[in-house]
Symmetry: C2
Subunit: 419 residues, 2 copies
């Protein structure tokens, strides 16, 4: 870690160069570069390497979307508190400069400044922990694109508030937000430090204040060959997730619209409470029917191994489908949803014990897709019919546009401000 210089002012200076370095983004080749970088770093799934770092600057999507999921997330949203366009610009520029340093495992300036009466630029708790695979992904909520910031005409065509969905039990204090930060790392202290110091910058600029946050965990341990982590219902989660670069291009990255949006994506976040104590009293045969999979192996009820393709047509001798009509994997499957696929990047969370003395836990569901309507279509169906609904409640929600990664010398969404 370097602790010699305060580099956070660099991004601010670059404001005058806006527009200069915004290039085309979102091509298949560029989008595929990110997991390539991870492979080049020699990272095996689940391996813990404190020196693993991903580039912040690039020609395609932001890190933290295609990046192999890290072990921890701190997700935080912010409300804008300024009505000045320039404050928003300064915040995004300062965040960009700081994130670039954090993702390299550096501090964002001196922890113990040489001038004795100075306040530390960096709070210091991640000193010498390494980058630990940190990615910080920045999202812009609908209220960014309003006349207040002269950005109404820059609004991505598909961005708007999420529809009200069946089985929504949203709490206002866990919903919405004008900006989002998804900080993921293999060490929770590294992820927390990033969000904390970025929140501090937001406060200093006067542009934004914290709104809601969730800390998540869930990556499997190293060396045991478990590719698919389990959620707190005990089931593998993510078996049929998007994995191939071509699928990312079709289902995740925007390939049209203004240049500054290409390589972007839409981030949907849901805080899903799970009633795990009720779940734990259910028979496992019922739990398997709820998911349409075997708890132990993760295999679909029609197969033997986790990655066997579910056979939604297979019937039992009595004519009933082997995978029930209201099973989670049937309702969510792309085969039954006109080919819709979304990238899920979820983490488990716990909030301790609730007011009834029950364990309070669940899933921080994060998905990325080319259109928020894709999430809505799936959730319309799941919320109305999913056998899982008895055991879960969607209590928090957010929708954000994630612009592409900035080129070096630029900052997040700089092209959005171009006049």
């Amino acid at each position: 870690m370097t602790d010699e210089t305060n580099k956070t002012t660099g991004a601010r200076a670059r404001l005058s160069r806006r527009g200069l370095l915004i290039g085309a983004a979102g091509s298949a080749a560029a989008a595929a570069a990110l997991p390539g970088a991870a492979r080049a770093a020699g990272m095996a799934p689940g391996e813990l390497n404190p020196d693993l770092s991903y580039p912040f600057y690039g020609a395609a999507g932001q890190a933290g979307v295609m990046t192999p999921p890290q072990r921890y997330v701190f997700f935080m949203t912010f409300d804008l508190t300024t009505d000045r366009r320039r404050d928003l610009q300064v915040l995004l520029a300062r965040w960009s400069g700081a994130i670039a340093q954090l993702m390299k495992g550096e501090t964002i300036g001196q922890v113990e400044p040489s001038r004795p009466d100075a306040v530390g630029f960096d709070t210091g708790e991640a000193l010498s922990l390494g980058a630990c695979g940190l990615t910080v992904t920045v999202g812009l909520g609908p209220r960014v694109f309003t006349g207040t910031y002269e950005l109404a005409e820059r609004k991505p065509a598909l961005l708007r508030a999420l529809q009200r969905l069946p089985s929504d039990a949203l709490r206002p204090e866990l919903t919405g937000g004008d900006l989002s930060l998804q900080a993921c790392a293999d060490d929770p202290q590294v992820a927390y430090h990033a969000v904390r110091d970025l929140a501090r910058i937001a406060k200093e600029t006067g542009a934004a204040v914290t709104r809601w946050t969730v800390m998540g965990f869930g990556r499997a341990s190293a060396g045991k060959g478990q590719a698919t982590p389990r959620n707190l219902l005990g089931f593998k989660d993510g078996t049929r997730n998007i994995r191939e670069a071509g699928e990312f291009d079709r289902h995740v990255w925007l390939n049209e619209g203004p240049a500054w949006q290409r390589g972007g994506t839409f981030q949907v976040v849901r805080k899903i409470q799970m009633h795990i104590e009720n779940w734990d009293t259910d028979r496992v045969s019922d739990q398997n029917a709820v998911f349409g999979r075997h708890k132990l192996s993760g295999a679909p009820l029609t197969g033997k191994a986790e990655f066997d393709t579910p056979d939604f047509a297979m019937k039992k001798p009595d004519g009933a489908p082997v995978i029930p009509d209201n099973a989670h994997i049937r309702l969510a499957a792309h085969e039954n949803n006109g080919g819709i696929k979304i990238l899920r990047r979820s983490f488990n969370y716990t909030d301790g014990i609730n007011q009834y003395g029950l364990l309070d836990a669940g899933l921080l569901f994060i998905s990325y897709q080319t259109d928020p309507a894709h999430f809505e279509a799936l959730q319309q169906k799941l919320g109305a019919a999913d056998a899982l609904n008895e055991y879960i409640a969607h209590i928090g929600s957010g929708l954000f546009f994630v612009p592409p990664a900035p080129r070096e010398g630029s900052y997040i969404a700089e092209g959005m401000f171009a006049t």
Copy 2:
């Protein structure tokens, strides 16, 4: 992991053998065996080994006290809801059998039972994650030792409610408890799974319900040579902690009293909220004066390197002490407290954002000592004078007697029930 048999009934069956296998515990040689086992397992500080496991049964103190601190903790307390002595016995016996399995990285019975209409014995979310260094340490609160359970006469001589201490800001919902579980592991899902399934056993027996809980993190990442983790004030925490086996014998393990208490210890738990946003606005020179150490290096203000012994007599040219009179390390030092030392085993925590929009975080302070009065003596002094008090509040508290580890074939505190 084995998933073939339900072994949780084993410990219950062993109830009839109580007293048989309780041996002497707490000798220096026996107490020193635990860190020896860790060394034998080839574990370097910070290394992540999913197969690392510690023995639950033994002839000395419970695991989770001398054990090198793992990366995560789930600490949970319980209220007893039964007035039957036998229910308490059954709970401690079932907990013991389950903990022995969990610490080996096993499930506590089948996740997906072969009988199709059965409920799973184990909730399954830690399947194939390995033991990850799991330790579960069981504590007994003051209310265990009452006439209700015919245990009033078995009360450890030094166990009682903690005194009211200066600067206490205790919240009833985060304070007290009749039983405690400290589950530590290098994977949070392993630690959470242990506490969850043990809470489920408590519920099944009808003997106890959950009271309060804290999830903590804080172990430094592997391979970066950081021996001392940092707290969320950015300072190294634990530089002068107890490390030698001889110190454990003098300051941590009980060496007198009835046989079933020897090798035991007293566990003090404090949830300490830190006002980190206020702290972050303070000059680092002030922060250094508050601790009496340099933030970056961890060296005492009178020295150059972290492990230099503080010189409490050293004066500045103007006659003022180099380490201020109200500096944390001066007030807490054994040199200034009649030789008192306590073992600290603390973790950072975050509760997200508080009602004022400020980051809500702090330290789950856990200490082990031969006498709760040792903690009280230090905290009397710190609470009254510590310069740190402006930035912290003790909001939760608990005191528990931690009996020695059971011998194989026995269970936690079996000797306490001997008639």
